[in-house]
Symmetry: C3
Subunit: 312 residues, 3 copies
């Protein structure tokens, strides 16, 4: 008699899997919020990131190109990035607004004009963004003695990835594009550990050192020439307000950091009414929930006293 166990095993195996498939399919019958099957209407995350991968080279063309660039082939090299980025962005923006209006979260767009306009405005903003990002790169070089050259900063510093994604996402956010800006900023967050909400307002020459763990909230306002070190949080205080109200009214929940402020690693600054005055220094690990005047120097404890805590 033939031992058909392997056959039984294999058909049992396949019955198990089919059963699991049925159960998974059935779970899509329930009313989970994640059961959304209208994939045609939702933006595609990879396409959004792919668009960004064509936008970043527009800013730093020489760092991405594999052939020498000069005046005669420059325009061609730019077009090679703009057109795919434009097509991807238009489609994804269109999906996002169509979906959001189908959910009653924004007015329905009459046609594809909104997507075209939002995408075009981004590309038109690039010369201005390039000017700002050039200053951001120089700020990193000028503030970090470990930087050997501006080129090294552009090549390898996570701060440039994070600020570039933020400045691009912020233009889209400001023009009312839903979903896409946050996909971009979380892409940068994943790569750098720096979490800047696209809604934040950030001035010129932002310097971020190391960066891992930095959080900049949606309504934070940052002036010019601000320096942030790793682990700094510009966050919200929890409130008793109903969340739905917060979401609709969009009150300022995150702090304002004025020009030329330096915030050292691990400091936490919270609250929409909190203003850190010009030229202030906030020490490492400081926890700050109220405003401080210009020129403040805030430290968790006087520097140099740590050895009082000394126990052998």
């Amino acid at each position: 008699m033939i031992d058909d166990h392997p056959m039984v095993e294999s058909s049992q195996e396949s019955r198990d899997i089919e059963e699991a498939i049925n159960a998974i399919a059935q779970s899509y019958e329930s009313d989970f919020a994640i059961n959304n099957l209208e994939s045609a209407a939702l933006p595609n995350k990879r396409a959004v990131i792919h668009a960004f991968e064509n936008i970043a080279p527009l800013v730093y063309l020489g760092f991405y190109s594999t052939r020498p660039l000069n005046r005669s082939n420059l325009r061609y090299a730019i077009s090679e990035c703009v057109y795919p980025a434009y097509e991807l962005l238009c489609e994804q923006i269109h999906r996002a607004v169509t979906y959001e209006s189908s959910q009653g979260r924004m007015a329905a767009p009459a046609d594809a004009a909104f997507a075209h306009q939002a995408a075009t405005q981004l590309f038109s903003s690039l010369p201005r963004l390039r000017e700002m990002l050039n200053e951001d790169a120089l700020a990193a070089f000028h503030n970090d003695p470990a930087a050997h050259s501006v080129e090294e900063v552009v090549f390898s510093y996570p701060t440039l990835v994070a600020i570039t994604a933020y400045r691009v996402a912020h233009v889209l956010y400001t023009n009312g594009v839903p979903m896409i800006p946050r996909i971009l900023s979380e892409y940068a967050h994943s790569r750098t550990g720096i979490d800047i909400n696209p809604g934040a307002t950030i001035g010129r020459r932002l310097f971020i050192d190391h960066g891992t763990g930095i959080v900049v909230g949606e309504t934070a306002v940052i002036g010019d020439d601000v320096k942030l070190y790793q682990g700094v949080t510009l966050g919200a205080l929890s409130t008793r307000r109903a969340l739905e109200e917060e979401r609709t009214a969009r009150p300022k929940r995150h702090p304002t950091i004025k020009d030329r402020v330096t915030i050292y690693s691990g400091a936490t600054i919270l609250g929409g009414d909190t203003i850190v005055g010009e030229d202030s220094t906030i020490g490492g690990n400081v926890w700050l929930v109220r405003s401080v005047p210009p020129g403040s120097k805030i430290f968790g404890r006087p520097r140099g006293t740590e050895t009082d805590d000394h126990a052998r």
Copy 2:
């Protein structure tokens, strides 16, 4: 006479490389723990991640599909993910258990049944996991005023990546699968900065905001409706116990966080006997190594006193 320097250079070059290759090969003769060449028996990291990339879409199908889904093609779309994920998982689990039993770290499996069973149990668990992950996504939406929609949460929030990987890895961990769960959790850690050990026990509706730097240890226990902010550590206290003993006895080394506890950014809670009672709030940067009763509000210093540290 011809200057053959380039030739000499080139053959010198090639001699240098060949010598380096010999030296590297020889270093595999020593008894390094990393000299393991039994690749056939070891799981393949990329295959494990590839399996996960077929499992995540099963949970959030509408967010991954590039075509509209409806009842008639849903089952097909699920099968398209389940079968490759199943094959990859079975092989990798089988490799892991075969390898571990060859090292005497677990009982030898009689056949491939263990791998089949563990993989099937994971797929059978998916409807339950989907229910939990749906609640996790809603918790993120309901707790974060910056979230514009549940869809945005699913698309872009790192917390969903981390919790999805954790819940999948935890099922495998609970069923005794070696190696694979940690590969999954470190994959999520790499993408999100959130490090949840697959052994941790986590209740429903976990909310993680921003997330970078969060550490949840292997024996941590987290109740329902807990909120964790960036940089929170649920860790172990160093002990004088021999490590080998710890590894075998697997005592509880990490804290227990009860229902409805909120832990703000940078707080560190350590020790297996440490219990944070229900409805407690642990402030930012707090360092806690002993239990606190239900309803506690622990802050490193009274809020609003930071300006006493003020020095101009």
Copy 3:
């Protein structure tokens, strides 16, 4: 009459994009530091990472190979990685030195010998690096009760990624290779959240747990058997010295950590003159800016007193 709106729309669209392209091209006429178009001379980031992806398998061959390895095919498997890595590295190093010398930042290399020599020295160092990395992997296994095996450490622990990239980058850095070392270290930073500058000097058996948020500065010196937990910073104190001077003179800006020191999560140690003596323990979240003698135990506040801060 035919409504030609779509056509007008489409040609307007295309005019808008062409205009944006012109403006972007024009922005490359200004004197931005990021306007560098000499792409032929700049290293290619992806090629550098690709080289590293061929170097890491040389260290942990059994963990990458998809077929069983033995003495007879080992040398072949090594060659398969060494040759592409060598070619990629040589070209990228050559680009980096040519570019740097064109900028007057290093002496011009006579020929490609520098690149060949630097690449060969790296491969010749691999047996020694393998010995050290083997010890690093064992240190992780022996210090972490959550580690189930050395294999799990090699497979999934971010610390191994970070230390491997550091040890490789440090060899290149020490041999005077510009740009490439930092590209490697930021690649590891992006994947692990661990930011170790390639210039740092690190002894044997470094143990990093979890790791997210760790920063080790360019002139930091770390002895043997040191343990670092997540969020530890070994950083610089801001000084009044001119930055250009710092960059040229390269003074020691970061601390020295002696043998067998343990530094718990979130601790910050700053300054080039700061020395943490042998066998010291630095507690979580401690802020330290001056030297402490051997055997010190520094904690921000006595452990176990947190409940004094208790307010209900």
